[in-house]
Every structure is written in C-alpha cells, then in structure tokens.
Subunit: 271 residues, 2 copies
C-alpha cells in the first residue's frame, strides 16, 4: 500500500487525473463558463504557525495567495469564498481579525462556511474574470521566460524566521495574459514551477540563474523555496519584464549559473 | 472576550456580516456573474467519523451536500472544487475512494488543493448555473410552505448509528425555482431553516407538524435534527409538493401539532 507521504502531493494529483477522478487540480486555476476558479487550503502546523504570523496576517496571506493564482490566469478578482475551521475556544476578536485580513486586498468575501475543528484550517476559493487564460501548455521553443519581480523573498524570510508579504501582480498578470504562451505564479519554487510549464507544454525551459533578480538578502538557493508569488511567463513579447531564460526543444528544466549546471532545493507538502 | 463556543456558528456569521467582513455566508449559495457558488467544509470528529462512514461515502456525502445547496438555488451543477487535508500516512487507495465518491453524482472535480493535515478536512466548493435564484428574502404572506420529500431520515439514522444518503433534488429545485418566493435545503433542521426564511423575508412561517411527511422509522422530533437535505420553499404554486404550512404576517416560526404549540430539538456546529 502506498501512503501519501511516499507518493507526494504531485504524485497524488497525477494519480487522480490519470484515473479521471479530478481534472486540472495542479493547474492552480480552472475556467468554468468564463470564470477563473482557484482554491488553496492553509493548515495550522503545516502551512503556518501562530508564532510566525497573527490572525490578520493569516487572513491577508490566504487571500493574497489565491488572488495570486488569479493573477497567474490574467484574471480580475471578483469574490472570495472562505471555509474556516477553528477550535470552539477561539476568540471572536481573532476571527474578526482573520476576516479583516481576508478583506485587505479589497476582494469581497461573498460566502463560505465556518465550523469547529481541532486546529485552524482555512480554505479559500477565489473567482475572477479573464479575457484570455494562457494556461501552462502553450510554451513554444524560442519564447523568452520572464518573471514579474525579484525572487527569494520567502526563502530568505524563512531562514530569518519571518514571513514576507505576497506581491499583488493582478495588473502584471493581465498585461502578460495578452501575450504569454504559458503563465503561472511561483509558489512551488522556480525550478519546480518552470518544470510544470515544461511538462505541460512538451518543451524544455533553460533558466540562466545569473539573470534571476533576487530580493536584497536572498541567496540563490532561496529561489528554490517557493512562495515568492511572482509570475513566471513564457512569451515572444517580454513587455519589459526581466528575462531569466529561454524555451527550447526538449523536456524538463535546465538550470545553469554562468554556463555551468546548477541544482536548487525544492519542497513538497507531503514530504 | 467572547469565544465561538459562546457565540455559536450563526452568531459568528451575523457578526461578520454586520461588520462588512463577509456577505451572504449564511445564504448557502452566492451568485457571481450568473454562477451560483456554494461551499461546505467537513471536519473529521466534528461532521463525520470513520466508524460511521468509509472514504467513498465521505466523498459522496461531501459532493451531495454541496449539490443540495445548488438544488436549493435552482441551479444545474457545473463543477466541484475540492480542498483536501489528510495525514501523510493516509493510504492512496483511501484517497482514490474519496474522489470516486466525490464523482458519484457525475459532477466533475475541476480543481482544488491537497495538503497534509492532522485529521481529515474536506472543503468542497460547487459551481452551478441558475436561471432564477429564489433566495431567502422573498417569502410573502399567503404563500404555501412546501417540502420536496419526507423528513427525519438523518435524525432517525443518527439514533440508529447509521447515515442516510443525501437526496438528489436538482430537478425539483429547478421546478420550484421558477415559482418559489424563497427556497433553501433543510440542513439545520426544519424549525431553524424555516426561521432563516422568516428572518430574511420579514414574515412568519406557520408550520403544521401533522402535515410534515416523515420517512419510515422517523419520530416527529427527528425533523429538528437537520441534514435531511430536502428542499423547503415558499410559493403560491405548490406544484404538487406536500404543503406543511403557510407564510403569515409577523416574525419567527410557529410550530403546531394539531393546533397546539410544539417545540423541536435543534443543533449548532459550535454548541
């Protein structure tokens, strides 16, 4: 018998898709009748700890992470839906702070569910409207690989025991969505997210790490940590965004630092 | 300081709405650009226990409960989005059973998120399309109160240590949505759900319990348990559904049994 610990999050998702039990879970965003839908769950002790962030920051982060998925689809946010599980002894004041955080980006909470649970569990579904969703399957040899901002903030912050804000890339996402052949937000780490595009598109992404912009204080390996939530797009028209690599014939992701192969750290929720 | 145990689930939702931090959470379904969106969370040890149901039944139930919310909005289901938190030692075979259950009603799982968690937590968001959503605020004095089937199954099953299937009322919901002034599914118990309509509509619902159809083996108090997932609607045109009461001027819910006042049990996730 295989456990999820052994299989990993992406292994599970692939298995569900292969059996026709779920579609597009790993795409981050699905299009239903012209609306983009994204969903993300945050579990106390797995994705966050209250010694690192407070209730308001948790709400703000949960909203921002889902809005980032909308940005990666070139969507304008319309509404959030929030499922919240909390222990019954939780203070009302804390839950009000959580919802204040959820509202910080100005996207209204239009529904959801609240319930008792052993620890805090927060699942946010975000809806947006997009003119064109690049998806992950259209990258073509010759495209440039661009990012919308410097990486490494989350990894550097993790090493320092803090948590950086999630950038708001809705406008950048809408601009890039008009021209990009593929786009996603960098949540799993640069190499792994580039790998998602490579696999779906049937191409190779050659990333030149010396061209990857880093936030102050970040080390190169921090770009493998994930949770930076900048957008990565493949496109013929770079729109002035920093170019970090090229799409080539082949498969997988090639990481080089000044011409030499380089291997970054990566992570997985189930590992 | 107030805790959620003291406030109760509905107290929390009212507080969030009053402060403008969330809209319509207690409506069960929200309308976003013509799509109906519902969300429901199931927490191990709170909403289910694996000695009462297996993984497949859990998935089937989670899907059915959300599809019931769509039925209560007169909507045709389009897609489910599933956030699943499970311990890392969970067997793949069990998770595949869960998703098989989620797919049982033929509504595709179009996305979601999976993550590690201490216990099993399942949050399902359902999207549907509706021509007309009656909502809860339109009940008018003189309307009949109808239900789409016999009640008490869940309460009777709870007493017997079993779990009844959730009825599929999509077709009935679409029929009633054309004429109903208000509609919801009976998830919190007959008296409480009737109370939601009364409060939102600014009317009184007079329920004559002797006219409430009961499933075989159910006692009258079982209709207060909730989780029957039949639809309750107020309407001038009863379409052949059983009439269990009338809408009157006033407020609240009047329960009578052969003319005498009667009080039913009720329940609350936080109490």
């Amino acid at each position: 018998m295989t456990t999820l610990d052994e299989l990993g999050e992406f292994g599970l998702l692939a298995e569900l898709e292969r059996r026709g039990l779920a579609q597009g879970i790993e795409h981050d965003a699905a299009l239903v009748e012209g609306l983009v839908v994204t969903q993300d769950a945050l579990v106390e002790g797995v994705h966050f700890r209250f010694d690192l962030l407070n209730w308001r920051e948790l709400g703000a982060r949960a909203a921002a992470v889902n809005i980032s998925d909308l940005a990666a689809s070139g969507a304008d946010p319309l509404a959030l839906f929030v499922s919240l599980g909390v222990p019954g002894k939780t203070e009302l004041a804390d839950v009000l702070e959580l919802y204040a955080g959820l509202n910080e980006r100005g996207v209204p909470v239009r529904g959801g569910d609240t319930t008792r649970a052993g620890g805090v569990v927060l699942s946010v579904t975000a809806l947006g409207r997009a003119e064109r969703v690049p998806g992950r399957a259209g990258a073509k040899p010759g495209d440039a690989v661009v990012v919308t901002g410097p990486l490494g903030a989350a990894g550097a912050a993790f090493r320092a025991g803090t948590l950086p804000p999630v950038p708001d890339r809705i406008e950048e996402g809408k601009q890039l969505a008009r021209v990009a052949t593929a786009m996603l937000d960098i949540s799993d780490g640069l190499a792994r997210d580039a790998g998602h595009v490579a696999e779906r598109s049937g191409v190779r992404l050659a990333i030149e790490l010396e061209h990857v912009p880093l936030v102050p204080g970040a080390e190169l390996d921090d770009v493998g940590f994930g949770e930076d939530y900048e957008l990565l797009a493949t496109t013929q028209d770079q729109l002035g965004f920093p170019v970090v690599g090229r799409v080539e014939e082949g498969e997988g992701v090639g990481l080089t630092l000044r011409g030499e192969p380089y291997r970054l750290a990566s992570w997985d929720h189930f590992r």
